[in-house]
Amino acid sequence: MIGWTFIIVCVAILVWAAINVSYDKRPRLLRPLVVLTVLLIWAAALWTLIRRFTEGLGAVTGMNDAAPWGLWIGTDVFAGVALAAGGFVIAATVHIFKIERFKPILRPTVLTAFLGYVLVAIALFIDIGRPLSWWHPLVMWQHHSIMFEVTWCVILYSTVLAIEVSPVVLERLGLTKLLRLVKITTIPVVIAGVILSTMHQSSLGSLYLIVPGKLYPLWYSPLLPAFFLISAVAAGMCVVIVESFFSAKLLKHGLEDSLMADLGRAASIILFLYLIIKFADVTARDAWGFVLERRFQGGLFLLEMVGGVAIPAILLSFRKFRNLQRGLVAASMLVMAGVVLNRMNVSWFGMAVHDQLNYIPTWMEIALSLGFVAAGTFLFFLAVHFLPVLPSTKVESPLETTNESGAVNR
């Protein structure tokens, strides 16, 4: 009970802080309160970790044999990977399709994706039962397993992201030779990143192809991999919008309004595509009846499709709406929430047997998850502060990625 109260208070404080920041208000209490909250969350997360590694997963999580995957996999990993999809989308836009307008947001986006994947890797390390064996998939191959493929893709793509993010560090350290080397490899690396992302984003959905008798028919579909990939692309773009908005507010630099609006428009188109395929899929499988058969799952399905997909898709399709900064951000947050809900529906609510949840997370699981989000945000601002991530942080070397900065150094 104390634990849950703690979680609720922490979340309330963070939401309150976010609202204040987005309306440019800075109450004097804001900073110390947020710092204190984050420190407390980290303390709780540390406590959770210690107990997890000594007493086992059963001691700190609500997981059990009927629900072997909980919040850490279903939400932290599945949703985390989806929300980090902006990295490959923007990298492809700039480097493969040469739409250079998006260059100013490339670095922060790739940085976010990199941090996201680092956190996902740590979450996986904590969640697997035998963490010291984490390297086994690298040497003990079993290519019939989706899990094997996902592991490889995530490791390789994290490497790709490290390479993509490296110019930021190399520039700072002034290692021009290495920078030039990285520049030469940029395009092949980005292409590899796009392929790896396509593979593992969709494969996270494929993980559930094996449970046709367990996953509720509203979500179980042979198209699961496609749904996971498409929704991740849309959500990834929306993350870029939200993140740019908050970093502009906090770091007091300008927001590329037209770029953000374009991203919103692209997300809207993808969401409509998602809706159409989803509609066709449920119709083709004759599964609409399942909306009414179990009210709990049916309601969640409608909430996800209407609140997380249809409404933001419609809102973002209007230019006037897209040009309202806070409107754009609010709609993007709806998309993010929709994807998180979708991953929870697939991994948790949709796996419930007969209206009865097999699993309720403990407050400690949530504390660790919050700790991850806080750590990611903290690391992002730390990097932005010390490294040339944002175009506006350095006036004399404007707007570049590796390309031009290599030229400048020459």
Binding site: D65, H136, H144, S145, G213, A407
Partner: protein
């Protein structure tokens, strides 16, 4: 191929016949990922060691549960000295409890309420889902047939627990760094390979469990159904479920009424993910070509910037 001819009588299993027949003098090669895709022809499925469970003959004495724990060095903590079959508390499969027998009450074909003792353990699928989902080959199909677990490879991802169509593998939730997955391995390492039948079958006092080749057990089951004047329901659970299993069940009440999973697909499960996985190389190559071409054509003429 009469290797189990004598073995089908309880307690008179003949080691020499078993070894000659099943192993064919080739020695016992058990756990290597190479044997993961054990030959999938129908002939080999007919020859795997199999157990026929006749629910009408089980008295719920749980002798099999105790024998299982003794044979596999599992903690024997279920106290059966008090009470009688049917009065004992309900038992669940755990990582350290690989088989359970519980009375299940349900309606028979005519709507009468009956109670049958149902033994539960790994079904030993002929095309096992758990083996296909395990990312490191910790679960493998032995050449004898049963699915074995190797903790030294396991990373504890619990995908097998999630994916099993019969909800069999269980995880050790109370271990910090080295939990294991637990499930029945049909006594392959300690007994089958020595020419002995599984410990539970040997312990069964009523003949509710019968051990032999799968084709013989299927024949036995069909014979019992045909010659029993409609005593049994005309369904051998495990004959087709999940592509067929080595454990086969006979019952006089519909299986779904006794807690058996009735929604298990008849098609083998591993195909569901392999259909997607096997296409990945082609898709990846196509994407590399496509994006490579786009990037190359759009980036031309920029090298001299």
């Amino acid at each position: 191929m009469n290797k189990f001819k004598h073995s089908t009588e309880v307690g008179t299993f003949n080691r020499r016949h078993f070894l000659q027949g099943v192993l064919g003098g080739s020695g016992l090669a058990v756990i290597s990922p190479a044997s993961l895709q054990a030959s999938s022809d129908i002939q080999s499925y007919a020859e795997v060691p199999s157990v026929l469970v006749d629910l009408t003959r089980c008295i719920g004495c749980r002798a099999c549960m105790r024998a299982c724990k003794d044979a596999n060095d599992l903690p024997n903590d279920t106290d059966l000295s008090e009470g009688f079959p049917g009065s004992w508390q309900h038992e669940e499969l755990r990582f350290d409890q690989w088989t359970v027998v519980n009375p299940e009450t349900g309606c028979d074909g005519e709507g009468r309420e009956i109670t049958r003792n149902v033994k539960k353990q790994c079904m030993q699928c002929l095309e096992p889902t758990c083996v296909s989902v395990c990312p490191v080959g910790a679960l493998t199909k032995s050449e004898l047939g049963p699915i074995l677990y190797n903790a030294d490879r396991c990373i504890g991802c619990r995908y097998c627990v999630m994916a099993c169509p019969f909800d069999i593998p269980k995880f050790e939730w109370s271990s910090g760094m080295s939990p294991v997955i637990g499930k029945c391995q049909m006594c392959t390492r300690k007994r089958l390979s020595q020419g002995l039948m599984p410990a539970c079958v040997e312990a069964c006092p009523t003949g509710a469990l019968k051990f032999g080749l799968r084709k013989d057990m299927l024949f036995e089951a069909q014979t019992r159904i045909k010659t029993s004047n409609d005593r049994y329901v005309d369904h051998i659970y495990g004959e087709k479920e999940a592509g067929g299993t080595a454990w086969l069940y006979l019952s006089d009440a519909p299986f779904e009424n006794l807690g058996f999973k009735s929604d298990v697909d008849v098609a083998p499960m591993p195909v569901l993910t392999w259909d997607v996985l096997s296409k990945i190389p082609v898709v990846a190559a196509a994407m590399a070509g496509l994006f490579g071409t786009v990037a190359w054509s759009l980036n031309r003429g920029e090298d001299d910037e």
